[in-house]
């Protein structure tokens, strides 16, 4: 048994760490209603003006739409490629297996700035492409594949293929088996992987900085570009507060997925 004295110590330490985790986030939400433009502490008064200004900020709106578009496209590409890779590796035990797993993890394991300048150099000097939405989607998909791959691979490992074999033995062709057996079993893993991929892409700034054109801005790029402008400070703060509140959505979603009886 752990002595009560120690339990109290660990409990108190946990409370302190949780306070440290949430205090800065709470401050951003609080400041979005602070009348002081420089966010004086304690707040000078209550206002909803910043929220209405942010709502009408065309720059923030446009950036939000660009971010959603990029994240949806990158998620779609990584769903296809990540699932193909996981299915391909499930079927075989050849020597290159580990190398392929490493290749899939590499874009997320190396620092973002390395991936960023490598892709920037590739697009501009090697391929002669114009930087734009297409290059951002390619870059994001490259490091999002791993989330889908990991989720699908973990699920396939648990399924062990006997259901697919049974389906084949009963005369189903490979594509029919995929449509009627494999895909339904993979559905929640695909959802979890897609959710992670979307969040990863939506939040990314470093690789994006090096692969986006000067005119197109994703939401993180827009925030960073306006962060140091005193005039824009309240609007940036509202966008930040909104993103904090919105981050509850994927948590709720992820809980729903893990409560799905199919996954157990």
């Amino acid at each position: 048994m752990i002595p009560t004295r120690l339990k109290v110590f660990y409990g108190a330490a946990t409370a302190v760490v949780l306070l440290l985790i949430y205090a800065p986030l709470a401050l951003v939400v609080l400041n979005s209603f602070n009348t002081s433009k420089s966010f004086a502490w304690p707040p000078t008064g209550f206002t909803t003006e910043w929220w209405s200004r942010a709502w009408h900020s065309s720059g923030a709106r446009h950036a939000l739409l660009v971010s959603i578009e990029v994240a949806l496209l990158a998620t779609a590409v990584s769903l296809v490629l990540g699932t193909l890779a996981a299915l391909g590796l499930q079927r075989s035990r050849f020597f290159g297996r580990n190398a392929i797993s490493l290749l899939i993890i590499l874009p997320i394991a190396l620092p973002g700035i390395v991936t960023g300048i490598a892709l920037n150099n590739m697009f501009r000097t090697v391929l002669g492409m114009q930087l734009g939405l297409l290059t951002v989607v390619i870059a994001h998909a490259t490091f999002c594949i791993v989330t889908v791959f990991n989720n699908v691979q973990a699920r396939l490992r648990r399924l062990q293929g006997s259901l697919q074999e049974a389906s084949a033995d009963l005369g189903a062709r490979p594509f029919t088996t995929f449509r009627l057996v494999t895909f339904p079993l993979l559905r929640s893993a695909l959802l979890a992987g897609a959710l992670l991929a979307f969040a990863l892409s939506f939040d990314e700034i470093v690789v994006t900085t090096f692969t986006v054109s000067a005119t197109q801005q994703t939401l993180p790029i827009w925030i960073f570009a306006n962060l140091f402008r005193p005039n824009q400070a309240p609007v940036v703060n509202v966008v930040a507060a909104a993103l904090i509140v919105l981050s509850i959505v994927p948590i709720w979603f992820a809980q729903r997925i893990s409560d799905d009886p199919q996954t157990h």
């Binding site: 760490v17 620092p111 700035i113 920037n120």
Partner: protein, 279 residues
């Protein structure tokens, strides 16, 4: 889709499945890394800032000869070490409480509470610390004038990567049987001794796994540095300035070898601890 079907058809199917992802990663990613590697041995024209495609070691020799680049590299590694230590110290008690003290319901709630900031945007979290540390912010009004600079940067980076440390340590502690702690206490060890001689050694791989995240993420960062670091420069900033302001991609490519090399050495050094299986 029969799985253990031998013969050439299975091989063809595997090839068809693996083809597209391998083409994508092989061409778009490995190709890009290879091109970057080659670029590190090029130079730029002094007046034209065009890349001159002639093999040279100039970038690497100026990396070694100019002390500023060494200072920045060592500073970055030092910050990464400090951030890792801060995160380990903060993660241990909360992970221990989650795994060994809390009831299953509290445990579930705490996992969500720790995960939630992982979903919050990186940029928003760095921005939150800009607000915390600002001259008119809450810390200053409490008399803690930390401001923007090295200490504020270490706090912010530690904050950003903390969940990446808590989760593997928590998973490691969950696997540690409670009976081991009881046995240690029965044999007369104090709580501190048990922690030092039983808990820490058995979850060491998890701590190292967490440190891979905190280390790698710190090594490449330049955004948080700009937001809360004040005048501090890290490797990421030098690379960023070399590409953007100086338009010298070859030098940026050469300097990018530093974090890659540090991470490879680090991964090699910890490969025997079993940390890589705990990621």
């Amino acid at each position: 889709m029969s799985l253990r079907q031998p013969g050439p058809r299975a091989g063809v199917a595997t090839g068809l499945l693996l083809g597209p992802p391998l083409l994508w990663l092989g061409v778009a990613y490995l190709g890009a890394l290879a091109a970057l590697l080659v670029t590190a041995f090029f130079s730029v024209g002094e007046f034209t800032s065009e890349v001159i495609k002639v093999f040279t070691l100039d970038n690497f020799s100026s990396l070694l000869s100019e002390p500023i680049y060494r200072t920045v590299a060592f500073r970055t590694i030092g910050i990464a070490v400090l951030v890792t230590v801060v995160d380990a110290v903060l993660a241990l008690p909360i992970a221990f409480f989650m795994a060994k003290v809390a009831s299953p319901r509290v445990q579930r709630a705490l996992v969500i509470a720790v995960l939630m900031p992982l979903w919050a945007s990186y940029l928003v979290k760095a921005y939150a610390w800009r607000a915390m540390l600002s001259a008119s912010g809450p810390l200053s009004s409490m008399g803690l004038h930390i401001g923007y600079g090295l200490p504020g940067l270490i706090i912010t980076l530690g904050y950003l990567w903390l969940p990446y440390m808590i989760l593997p340590v928590y998973a490691g502690l969950q696997r540690l049987p409670g009976s081991l702690l009881e046995a240690s206490a029965d044999l007369g060890a104090s709580a501190g001794t048990t922690f030092r001689r039983v808990v820490i050694p058995s979850i060491f791989p998890s701590l190292v796994a967490g440190s891979i995240f905190t280390f790698s993420l710190t090594m490449g960062d330049y955004i948080a540095v700009k937001i809360v670091g004040g005048p501090t420069q890290m490797i990421g900033n030098v690379i960023y300035e070399s590409v953007g302001t100086a338009n010298n991609l070859p030098f940026a490519a050469a300097y990018a070898f530093v974090p890659i090399l540090v991470m490879l050495v680090y991964l090699w050094a910890v490969r025997r601890t079993g940390a890589l299986e705990n990621l």
